[in-house]
Symmetry: C2
Subunit: 418 residues, 2 copies
């Protein structure tokens, strides 16, 4: 335990302040003279330190009382560390080996000590560099299926679901970022919006599409009200760390009870943005790498279906779709499962389309596009992404297969909107 | 305040125990010699006393630590009085004059002192007797619209919605009754089930209909997860008290955050059961009275739409469907409203069908049918009700108007299934 009230760590005082935490010294030793401390927080919200010694390593993540990306003009409660901790421990239990191990949590200091993933790097960087990751779709498909299924009334005792819903209902300020930046800001002239010059016509197309905006709000209603399961809440390619063969999911401080398809939709969107941005990142093997990204999407969904179905058949112990109503009467529950999977698929596509808009139009853009220096080319690629997002929001109910989805991506990738 | 730990009131000790509560003596005076105390709890769960004097009257409602209908073999937490109190005060604020006034709440004794509604009687009794109630559809349509809208992210600050969701997530045991008796038990051989002899074939039709059972579970998922608003949770015709022109909603201890259409669906179902049971309650003016019941359903929905639309246009201050995305850009939000109303309509029909099953097949049947002594006739009328329920569950997405719904009711009312 660290004494005293909350105070942000610095590179200078970190060792002195944390040296009495046995969970940390068990990892890196108690001789702070041998600790190598670096601050590496490149995200939008938090302080992140790596502590290394010859004995081992650890990550120290500490929340700041404001949004790091914006500064102290945007205060943000420290309690997000509390929700990150509770999300991480649940994810670890529900999807083994999918998240960094947590060694220590200090609510007062909004601080988590966890496993340093090495030599992992952020998936988004790899996607920009054109690197492939073996088992990526398997790992993420399973992660989404396991956390979705095992956090829901399909699996848990409903008293546990209800108490976890109550717990995560306390996470007001962090999901509020999603509520604003994702579901509203892209569709009006919000203060923190920005977009690449040249996209004005596309922005106008989106903002004047009343039918699409109604659909966006339908999905917003689902995000805010349909509390199927504990979602990661921010599953973009910056929340995934990979080697060439191993992937881990990090940063669940946006954790909230939400729809089964929400995390999948966010993830798909970030893959599509990687896909559409590729022409400005490489010329060699462009089509090959773009195809690999689309395969990851297809395989992620297929692994999700496989794993979710497996859990449906082996761990369906919650109150929903009880066996008494199906198997115990000699009736297959396959039809019910397919209906549910179809619903998850359709909703994930809606969320996907909205995330594709958000990352080009409101705050917190993706490096996939942002690192493209030629603004004309950037706008042109973003336009494809934005217009496909619109199609997904409008027609999510009518895209019935991954093959149709891939076809759609190729179609928009070949169009020039500006 | 009453001292000491929880103890159920009796007719004998009620006056002595409550005489020091100023909120009560303000109503009925402090001279307990003049109090007339009666126990009138005819519901399934609680003690209900009427206290009268020449000065005035009050209802004393106290929870019992078990389900009254079943006995102490089915324990039920006293905290339901807490949720009833919190629901009543919210309903009073959101739908003025629609619920009895609350004068006093004692959490420790699980006790609420509230307005005695006189000369109101239970709507179900009136429906069995063939009595009409002026303004019934107006009052209930408005009640459903106002509580739905004003308890949701359409209206409230989302921090308030989230804290109320957390609050009502604590209501585990009472919604569990709905989870079991409504959404599961009718569809398998559950221990507490009972049905009128002669319905076996119909029960078999329902239980062997895998598609329908999948739909039932879809609606169960919505009931459990889609936390749009604070629902009454048990809005049957025994939860409504009426004179010939005034109606009040009582007994919200099942209050839970749930889908917008849930209360409407329960209400419609109870009207349909009144409708189908009529041939055994009267021969004079049978068609006229049945038509009146169907008109109440139609008018309730129309009033719901009118009031919900009015609130949409005047009180849409929550985070969903923000004006920034519609009106502020000169865009109508009418399309979004219609989509949302259609969704509410369809879901209400699904919930309606399920409630129609539950009241004939699992625990806690309705007097509408139960008071029919000729079991053959009872079964025959219940069969119409059950088969229409099945149709609603299966085809709720395809019944696009109240006219279609009325047609469906007439169709099933003319069929003989057994």
């Amino acid at each position: 335990m660290i004494n005293g009230k909350y105070e942000p760590l610095t590179i200078q005082n970190l060792a002195r302040r944390l040296v009495l935490i046995p969970e940390l010294t068990a990892l890196v030793g108690a001789d702070i003279g041998c600790w190598d401390v670096k601050e590496v927080g490149d995200g939008n919200l938090n302080l992140v330190f790596i502590v290394k010694s010859s004995a081992g390593s650890a990550i120290i993540k500490q929340a700041l009382p404001y949004v790091r990306l914006v500064g102290d003009s945007w205060p943000l409660p420290l309690y997000r560390a509390f929700f990150e901790y509770h999300a991480l421990t649940r994810q670890a239990a529900r999807a083994k080996d999918s998240v960094p191990q947590v060694y220590y949590f200090d609510n007062n200091q909004a601080l988590i000590i966890m496993e340093y993933l090495e030599p992992h790097k952020i998936l988004r960087e790899k996607l920009i560099l054109g690197e492939t990751v073996d088992h990526l779709a398997d790992t993420l498909g399973k992660f989404c299926a396991r956390t979705a299924f095992r956090g829901s009334d399909l699996s848990l005792d409903t008293a546990k679901v209800k108490s976890d819903r109550a717990l995560f209902s306390g996470n007001v300020a962090i999901p509020a970022i999603t509520e604003g930046l994702v579901f509203c800001d892209p569709y009006f002239n919000a203060e923190m919006n920005s977009n690449t010059p040249g996209l004005e016509k596309i922005v106008e197309v989106l903002r004047s599409d009343i039918e699409m905006k109604s659909r966006v709000q339908h999905f917003f209603r689902l995000y805010s009200a349909q509390q199927d399961t504990m979602c990661h809440g921010d599953l973009h390619s910056g929340s995934i760390m990979c080697t060439s063969w191993d992937s881990k999911v990090i940063d669940p401080e946006f954790a909230t009870y939400g729809p089964f398809g929400f995390d999948l939709g966010m993830l798909f969107a970030n893959y599509f943005m990687a896909f559409f941005s590729q022409p400005e990142h490489r010329s060699d093997n462009l089509e090959g790498y773009q195809s690999w990204i689309l395969e990851v999407i297809v395989d992620t969904w297929e692994m999700f279906v496989e794993e979710f179905s497996q859990l449906w058949n082996t761990e369906r112990t919650g109150m929903l779709y009880p066996k008494t109503m199906f198997e115990d009467q000699g009736h297959s529950s396959e039809r019910a499962l397919q209906d549910l999977l179809n619903d998850i698929w359709r909703n994930s596509l809606g969320f996907c389309g909205i995330e594709m808009h958000r990352r080009c139009l409101s705050l917190a853009h993706n490096a996939d596009f942002e690192t493209i220096e030629d603004l004309g080319r950037r706008a042109s690629l973003e336009a494809r992404n934005l217009m496909m997002g619109r199609d997904l929001v409008l027609h999510s109910d009518n895209i019935s297969s991954t093959a149709d989805l891939v076809k759609l991506a190729h179609k928009f990738n070949a169009e020039n909107f500006i």
